[in-house]
């Protein structure tokens, strides 16, 4: 398949070839192939239990694939721990975000990678620089934080996702994996997060965006990998597929049509108001 619409199509940053993973007798994934390019968004879509989380855990170094290959810059790689993936520039933002609600935004931003100044016993956390960089990085992503000193817990869900994305980009992520960043959010908040996904993409990051909502995936996606019960239902470039087709493929067309008629039937007890 080619992707004439995207017009980018640089060399693949990350490539999956016939990847499979079993948990005991459960085949969680089988025969999955797709590519992630710099400055592109690869969406992974699928219903609950389709294998989306398993797929990103393979990319993030949490699981090892039982079959197939993962290639980074064209070279086969095998991550034995999340740290390996991180060192290779693959950052993952999980749903729980790895942020500490009671701590200030700037403290969270640099957690585990604090800049220091001074030497020996006087080596200290360079808080002035940390605050400055946090504000600058968030602004660069178009995130206007009132006060970097406020605890992360006071931010809305969308803002927190955005801070996590900005953090990953700042620390040099080449591939950014987002596990259902919009699923717990309202329409407006989800829109904000989608904007930051586009921002990260425009800064040259290869994004892997996991979601079960075609309406979130379609506007930002350059490539769509559809999963169903661990198998690939298709791997499309933008322009090859519409929102309606994605929805139909994901739900298994006939089932959804049936469901629609069932739900549309008016119930006797309910009135129209």
């Amino acid at each position: 398949m080619t992707d004439p619409g995207a017009g980018l199509g640089g060399p693949a940053l990350l490539e999956l070839r016939d990847v499979g993973k079993d948990f005991g007798s459960v085949i969680a994934l089988d025969g999955i192939s797709t590519t992630v390019r710099a400055g592109e968004v690869t969406c992974v879509l699928g219903d609950n239990g389709a294998g989306k989380s398993t797929l990103i855990k393979i990319l993030a170094g949490v699981h090892r694939p039982d079959r197939g290959q993962v290639l980074l810059d064209g070279q086969p790689v095998s991550f034995s721990a999340p740290r390996d993936a991180l060192d290779a520039g693959i950052a993952t933002v999980y749903q729980d975000l790895a942020m500490i609600p009671l701590m200030a935004i700037w403290r969270n931003f640099f957690l585990g990678a604090e800049p220091t100044r001074g030497r020996g016993p006087f080596r200290r956390f360079d808080s002035a620089r940390a605050k400055e960089v946090t504000r600058r990085e968030l602004l660069a992503m178009g995130i206007d934080i009132r006060d970097p000193d406020q605890p992360v817990g006071t931010l809305s869900g969308g803002e927190r996702q955005s801070v996590a994305i900005a953090r990953a980009v700042h620390f040099g992520a080449r591939v950014l994996i987002l596990d259902e960043p919009t699923s717990a959010l309202g329409v407006k908040q989800a829109g904000i997060v989608l904007r930051y996904i586009a921002q990260a993409r425009d800064r040259g990051v290869g994004v892997v965006f996991i979601t079960h909502n075609p309406h979130h995936a379609h506007p930002v996606g350059d490539r769509f990998l559809l999963l169903g019960r661990g198998r690939s239902l298709g791997d499309f470039a933008k322009g090859e597929v519409s929102v309606e087709e994605i929805t139909r493929l994901m739900a298994g067309g006939a089932e959804l049509a049936e469901l629609t008629t069932e739900l549309e039937r008016p119930l006797p007890q309910k009135d129209g108001s």
Binding site: P82, R83, L86, Y94, D96, L97, A98, M99, I100, P101, L102, M103, R107, F110, L111, G112, A113, E114, T116, R123, R124, F125, S127, P151, G153, T154, L155, S156, G157, A184
Partner: protein, 313 residues
């Protein structure tokens, strides 16, 4: 503030300079412990063995200095090694097993309580270790741990100075170092902290060793000051340290608090303890007061947590 005004209005001794020196004294040794315990609580853990450890270290100083006839500084160094070993053991067990620190340190608390009595009896034949003043080098140790400084004609104990120093140091570490950031993160959400590369295990063990080192400092102060140490020294104090830290704003759930707050908690404690004596009230009221303050503090702390988590989700 309110507490000070209350007692100061009621008692002229309380507000006199010598009165201040008097109530600052219990506040200081308690404060040194409360600051260390506060760091540990911010890091998400408790240490029930912290009180009895002041006894263990004081007894070690006494026994090594008198029964083994060692120079006092050798005895003090030996006590430090013992304390750091116990602190390491506490931290190691907690991080290894993943059990609540409450239960692990309850175990070390009981063990140390038994050891303090058993070993003291074994070495001295009594339930105390005395005669520390006759050890070699006692003068210099007394100068460091138990001297008095004269300010405006009133003698203040040097422990007050140490307390202020330790509070300042702890505040600096908490707010201005990487380690401080890790302490907040480990106590706030250990899994999340580890996910972003914080050495949570090492942080926890270091905090337990810090608490143990504080217990060593206070234990040594007691031994040098009193020159004779009872085998039951420090038992029951561990809860007071925790109360002081909580009054000072530490969350029981970890991840929030300050060293200055814990010191204020200790100050309130010292003021109440002696204020009640000056008013010639029954000492039983002291615990009533303490209970009221603890409850108020816990309720106030709950609001802090609510605020910080207000917009979650």
């Amino acid at each position: 503030m309110v507490i000070f005004t209350f007692f100061a209005l009621q008692s002229s001794v309380f507000r006199s300079l010598s009165g201040v020196a008097n109530w600052l004294d219990p506040a200081s040794t308690l404060g040194i412990m409360a600051v260390a315990v506060a760091l540990l609580m911010i890091g998400g853990h408790f240490d029930l063995s912290a009180g009895v450890m002041t006894g263990t270290t004081a007894l070690t100083v006494g026994i090594v200095a008198t029964e083994f006839g060692q120079h006092i500084w050798v005895a003090i160094a030996a006590a430090l090694v013992v304390a750091l070993a116990i602190g390491f053991l506490n931290g190691w067990l907690v991080t290894r097993t993943g059990l609540p620190s409450f239960i692990i340190t309850l175990g070390t608390f009981l063990m140390l309580q038994g050891l303090n009595l058993g070993l003291t009896k074994l070495f001295t034949g009594t339930v105390s270790a005395g005669g520390i003043a006759s050890a070699g080098g006692y003068g210099s140790a007394e100068w460091v741990f138990a001297s008095r400084l004269e300010v405006a004609g009133v003698e203040f104990r040097v422990a007050i100075l140490w307390w202020v120093l330790f509070t300042a140091l702890a505040t600096w570490v908490l707010l201005r170092t990487r380690f401080g950031n890790w302490v907040f993160a480990t106590g706030g959400d250990e899994v999340a902290a580890r996910n972003v590369g914080v050495p949570a295990r090492r942080t926890t063990i270091t905090l337990f060793m810090t608490t143990a080192a504080a217990a060593w400092f206070v234990g040594t102060t007691l031994a040098v000051r009193l020159t004779s140490v009872q085998a039951n020294t420090g038992i029951g104090q561990e809860l007071i340290y925790i109360v002081a830290a909580v009054i000072g704003g530490c969350l029981l759930t970890g991840g929030f608090g300050s060293a200055v707050g814990a010191s204020l908690g200790a100050l309130i404690f010292g003021m109440t303890q002696l204020g009640i004596v000056y008013l010639r009230w029954d000492a039983d009221w002291f615990y009533f007061f303490l209970g009221v303050m603890l409850l108020l503090a816990v309720l106030a702390n709950r609001l802090v947590r609510r605020y910080a988590e207000a917009a979650r989700r």
